[in-house]
Symmetry: C2
Subunit: 444 residues, 2 copies
């Protein structure tokens, strides 16, 4: 009997898995029956923008964490698919920091070409997964008609992402603060904060980018509160970095150094959780957000249950191309082309990855660490080889460009590691480009 494979999620990782199987089939391999369950009504995962926040039209947690006017915060040359270049999709090379709609279009282009949409059951939330003998029983709910059903699978591939469930700390005084307190996950439109004094808590990508957005769209001031260290970029004049928030009192925010500021709203850019409410303890990944996750052999196989895989659960420098490397590798395990070792060997592999990550001293070590990981996986499959070293160099340049100008770095261009073409300069500097539509972006 043909094996049955369940993929949970049709975002970049789940779509990579669908494309991986389709690519093998295209080359003549016999592939198992694949079913992809997607909670949203369309594919694209986080890249599928929604105005909704909190719970969706079916009462399910909203997956999307993206906001209006979002442009890629890293160069597209670091994430290009090796089997589907930007030039193939758009018919020309495009500038390096596309807005969301442009990247969505690109992701979609590859899977439209692959013809895998029929394998996805949209509007279908996974409710519960259980092991039953050698099989996994997957219970799902088809949301539009509120109908649950259970099917059995030989493998489950969890590709539901880990930037959807917000980590939301409490600070004293939030319960009586007279304005909005929200997590980055619920941020949608910077215009809501025009002329406002905004407090941002956190210093990672969300803080940097949401702060920059709100600055660009006319916030009166941006105050960013850090736990450990300021981001240290050369910020505009109405931008300040301050120590950790201790509490708010009315509309006054107080910080660890005794200073205070009056604020109109608080955006908690405090990260996300790995959250799998549909999995019991024995199947559920528990890991910090790091490059070498806990309990995943080769970063994908759940060591306690090697018929179960997780895609894209690492913290990320590499994204789409890393998900591809993982998806091709998982496919080849399922197709019997790659044999997995015994548990002890898998556990040792995890420990080794963690030790090697921990030995790194800075972001550059981290970039090359993850580059090596991508190289390792693609060497074991037929995923098109590409110049991973050059992609690492792109990330390094990017960091330099951010350091040189946090509000200007998106005006730079990089060379594709897939096609070797240098990206054109964009027609408008990012800070003056208020229209984030695909049509306007492509007018180069």
């Amino acid at each position: 009997m043909t094996k049955r494979i369940a993929i949970i999620g049709a975002g970049p990782s789940g779509l990579a898995q669908l494309r991986a199987f389709q690519s093998a089939a295209e080359k003549g391999a016999e592939v198992p029956e694949v079913v992809c369950f997607e909670k949203q009504e369309n594919w694209g995962g986080l890249w599928n923008y929604t105005w909704r926040t909190g719970l969706d039209q079916y009462g399910e947690p909203v997956h999307g964490s993206m906001y209006r006017y979002l442009w890629s915060n890293g160069p597209k040359e670091g994430l290009e698919f090796a089997d589907y270049s930007f030039e193939e999709h758009f018919g020309k090379q495009i500038a390096s920091y596309p807005p969301r709609a442009v990247l969505f279009d690109y992701i979609e282009g590859r899977v439209q070409k692959a013809g895998v949409r029929d394998l996805i059951r949209f509007d279908t939330a996974v409710r519960w997964v259980e092991k039953a003998g050698d099989q996994f029983n997957v219970t799902v709910c088809h949301l539009p008609d509120d109908r649950t059903y259970t099917e059995s699978f030989d493998h489950v591939i969890v590709a539901s992402g880990h930037f959807s469930t917000p980590n939301v700390p409490q600070f004293d005084g939030f319960e009586t603060f007279k304005g909005r307190v929200l997590h980055a996950h619920d941020f949608r439109d910077a215009m809501e904060f025009k002329d406002k004094d905004l407090l941002i808590v956190g210093t990672s990508y969300s803080a940097e980018d949401i702060g920059s957005q709100c600055w660009k769209y006319g916030a009166k001031s941006i105050t960013v509160s850090h736990r450990t260290a300021p981001m240290g970029f050369d910020w505009p004049d109405n931008w300040a970095e301050v120590p950790l928030l201790t509490h708010v009192d009315g509309n006054t925010a107080h910080f660890k150094d005794g200073s205070s500021r009056d604020i109109d709203a608080v955006i908690l850019c405090t990260g996300y959780k790995h959250h799998f409410p549909f999995l019991p303890d024995e199947l559920r990944l528990k890991t910090a957000n790091r490059l070498a996750t806990q309990d995943l052999y080769k970063g994908v196989t759940y060591v306690n249950e090697p018929a179960l895989f997780y895609l894209g659960m690492q913290d990320q420098w590499f994204t789409f191309n890393m998900f591809d490397a993982q998806a091709w590798w998982v496919r080849d395990v399922i197709l019997g082309r790659i044999e997995q070792p015994d548990t002890a060997t898998m556990v040792a592999d995890v420990a080794d990855r963690i030790a090697r990550e921990d030995a790194g001293k800075d972001d550059y070590d981290a970039i090359w660490y993850q580059g090596d990981y991508v190289k390792e996986l693609i060497a074991e499959t037929d995923y098109p080889s590409f110049d991973v070293e050059a992609a690492c160099q792109v990330f390094k340049e990017w960091k330099g460009h951010k350091k040189a100008g946090i509000m200007t770095f998106r005006n730079n261009s990089y060379t594709s590691v897939i096609t070797g073409t240098l990206a054109p300069a964009h027609h408008t500097p990012w800070k003056d480009a208020l229209d984030d539509s695909l049509e306007v972006y492509l007018k180069n």
Copy 2:
């Protein structure tokens, strides 16, 4: 072996069930082992205020729909516990429309006295319930340590409420609206909308009360859009009722009659869903929000699986006292004091209730319909009898007071149907009372 009972939720309904069993035990009955699973860290259900919106600290949907400055929108004389009066709790009679904190205190007082807190497993979300033979397997997650486990029960009582999962319609243009769009479920502080032009969609209690709050706290204007008919109260000058929203274009809202208004924010007061993502089809109640629900014999027993009960799933005139009537009745079924009939009889009971509700012509019929239901249940148990007819009259008076002045109705007083005492007039008219604390409310 002692029976085991699972109660899902420690809000007013779940607490009523705990008190019902404790009351029987107090009188010498042998009662089963009761375990109550509560997702929140404290009891009180909706009455347990949180500043959080969307997802909570554990990534679970926030239960709370209540907001700051919320005062009861109905007289407390309509919801008083027959076994625990306001006078017993506060040591004196208090005014008729208490703010949230006062009602929370009252709810908590009864169960503190009953000593049932140890039966509740807090911070514990129910993940999945399945029938296995005569038993229910209930799988839960203890959220602080992210640990799942499964236990078996003879009965499950679903008391998780139905005013927590928002019903969120889409209107064209929301995806490009340059302000906040939120459901009433996520509304927290009216001060966020001070000096704003606010659009409210919907005409039920949330619309009426959130609009009134925002008016009280200084919104510039309130526009309420209705699908069927305006609420028709005598609104303040900066308040308008308009036909259904058709779309928004930039920050302009357009209505069915061709009129339009510029707005800063949209609050969708469009109701809630019965949502039980932890239940498979064969156990899951599917009903409209009405007085006579689908599939519940006597309004509580799930006809397809009579060992499963639902509390408080009706639309509500009566609240706390009706949950009590239901909880005492369910308890007596479980204790063997009440025998349930065969399925055909239960199904006929449901049909009869629906027909009788449908025959009602107005709100007054609805009030007495639900009053009769409460009477019917308490007549079959030892729940302290009270003057249900007088409670119906309180609701009728209340409706008259709202008609007479939507911003003044909370200044009225009613007579307790439990103790016969007339409530004192409150020291400050509602529209001038900006402090909603318990301490200030009780200064009468």
